[in-house]
């Protein structure tokens, strides 16, 4: 909980500490080469690529429809978001108009997915700093969302549900009722998390004032999503550049205010995620109330063969700003698919914010960034 800025006061020799690739606190196969002076970190080099599955190379040999399941496997904690982001990019390239019902279904599943992903982020962050119970509680509630998705698509983790031009299936008959029941159950749970973890003295001591990302550093490194909003930057694509039908809903964008310490510390990044779950509930309630009838398959193209051209589309996933850069040369196979993954940029800021902190604080900072290695390595 204290940061050494004057390096001259410790004269011990530096040593290299290797953390990972197999380490419970690196959230996957991430290796950190940490140069330390005693307990104080002076430099971190993240070494990535252990989960590289050649996503972009595979895409060059697959037709546009076949890529959808591959995008699911990039960010496996928010598969719906990846499918949605990719579908929006393809639709932009094809210039398709979607039925209203499809847009509503997509917003509903995307917001449920955001809650599920943030539940893991919040719980795992607590686990990283030593609070074990909240993790079991958040997993218990996430399970109910996975049950809803199982009804919807048959899968619990990798859904292959949102397709370019539509969605795979219409909602099951009792889906809206079940989702409303879940929201009624879940809303009071957030108060419980706050009582258990958010306002816990030990947790605040570990997280507040640690690993501050100033707004300009965050922007310079391309940090996005809750991690950037915690630094006080009001940048949420759902509000600033509304895609799909987000402009129809009334919701706020929570930003970090430094309530327990300074703006942009680990506690703020945690708190923004908790607040975002509340906002997602707001959006869900509005969407469930006004969902129209319609055919969800009507706009799915028989054959995806876009004209020659390029498109860059952006999407606000649970981790931040997902970008898909597609290049088409008029065939049914894209010539280049590039995925701008948010966690990749969020991780690159780690060295900048953690030097001067202790090794145990690096775990806190890494946990608060909420990285998913599947998406970083692609």
């Amino acid at each position: 909980m204290f940061k050494i800025t004057d390096k001259s006061i410790i004269g011990a020799d530096e040593m290299i500490l290797n953390m990972g690739p197999q380490h419970p606190s690196t959230h996957g196969v991430l290796r950190l080469k940490i140069i330390t002076d005693g307990e104080i970190v002076s430099h971190i080099e993240p070494i990535i690529g252990y989960l590289h599955r050649c996503f972009e190379k595979h895409c060059e040999n697959l037709s546009y429809e076949q890529i959808v399941p591959f995008t699911d496997r990039c960010d496996y904690l928010a598969s719906m978001h990846m499918g949605h982001a990719y579908s929006i990019a393809v639709e932009k390239l094809l210039d398709v108009q979607l039925p209203e019902r499809v847009e509503y279904i997509r917003v509903i599943v995307a917001e449920l997915q955001r809650i599920a992903s943030h539940l893991i982020a919040v719980g795992a962050f607590g686990l990283d700093v030593g609070a074990i119970t909240p993790f079991t509680w958040t997993l218990r509630d996430r399970e109910r969302i996975l049950d809803l998705f199982e009804q919807l698509s048959g899968a619990r983790l990798l859904y292959n549900y949102i397709w370019p031009g539509g969605v795979a299936h219409d909602l099951p008959s009792n889906f809206i009722k079940n989702t409303e029941e879940f929201l009624n159950y879940f809303e009071p749970q957030i108060v419980e998390y706050n009582n258990l973890l958010t306002t816990n003295k030990i947790f605040i001591e570990r997280a507040a004032d640690v690993g501050i990302i100033p707004a300009d550093v965050g922007i310079n490194f391309g940090v996005s999503g809750p991690s950037l909003r915690a630094s006080g930057v009001d940048y949420d694509l759902r509000k600033t550049e509304p895609y799909s039908i987000y402009d129809k809903f009334d919701f706020d964008v929570p930003v970090g205010r430094g309530e327990m310490g300074s703006v942009g510390d680990c506690w703020d990044r945690y708190w923004v995620r908790v607040k975002e779950m509340e906002e997602s509930i707001k959006i869900l309630r509005q969407a469930l109330k006004s969902i129209p009838d319609g055919d969800v398959h009507e706009a799915i193209p028989k054959k995806i063969r876009p004209n020659k051209g390029e498109v860059y589309s952006r999407y606000e996933s649970a981790r931040g700003d997902v970008g898909f850069y597609l290049r088409s040369d008029g065939k049914n196979i894209p010539t280049r698919v590039k995925m701008r993954s948010p966690a990749y940029c969020n991780l690159s800021v780690l060295n900048e914010v953690s030097s001067g902190w202790m090794i145990s604080d690096v775990i806190t900072i890494l946990g608060s960034l909420d990285i998913v290695l599947g998406e970083i390595d692609r």
Binding site: G49, H52, F221, V233, G309, Y312, D321, K338, C345, S348
Partner: protein, 153 residues
């Protein structure tokens, strides 16, 4: 028009493409990148490398965003694959890892990059897989690479 400041200064040296992105020459990139930063494009979202498949040409697409004026700009450079491109990692730190990725997978060479090495592939990997003329190696570290793909294809 978001690219007006570039058009005013460079006129025919740059080309505006159909979707509003700007195609520039690799010689001017150092100057232009500083000008873009001065015009409040503080957020570099993505650097995409692509293979043009004609005359050994490669391309880079830079997608910028301005958090103050909330505008968007895409700048593209197309160049011969031997050309060294000026790194912009000292202006936008995002470019550091994205340029390493472009070097790793596409073989784009950058000059003045702080730490240009492979990022996603192992350091002893040969070749740049996203090039269209890439051939899969027969051996990696003495281990034969399986050619029979019938079990998964």
């Amino acid at each position: 028009m978001n690219s007006k400041f570039l058009q005013d200064k460079y006129k025919d040296k740059i080309k505006i493409l159909d979707n509003g992105s700007v195609l520039i020459n690799s010689d001017n990139w150092e100057e232009i990148s500083e000008l873009i930063k001065k015009n409040n494009f503080d957020y570099l979202m993505s650097v995409t490398s692509y293979d043009l498949q004609i005359d050994d040409m490669l391309g880079l697409a830079y997608n910028f965003y301005s958090t103050t004026s909330r505008t968007y700009l895409e700048v593209r450079i197309e160049f011969n694959k031997e050309t060294e491109i000026q790194s912009v990692a000292n202006i936008w730190q995002t470019a550091n890892w994205h340029e390493r990725e472009a070097f790793d997978l596409m073989g784009v060479l950058f000059k003045n990059h702080p730490d240009l090495k492979r990022i996603l592939l192992p350091e002893d990997w040969e070749g740049h897989p996203l090039r269209k003329d890439y051939k899969e190696p027969e051996f990696y570290n003495g281990m034969p690479m399986p050619k029979d793909k019938s079990y998964w294809e």
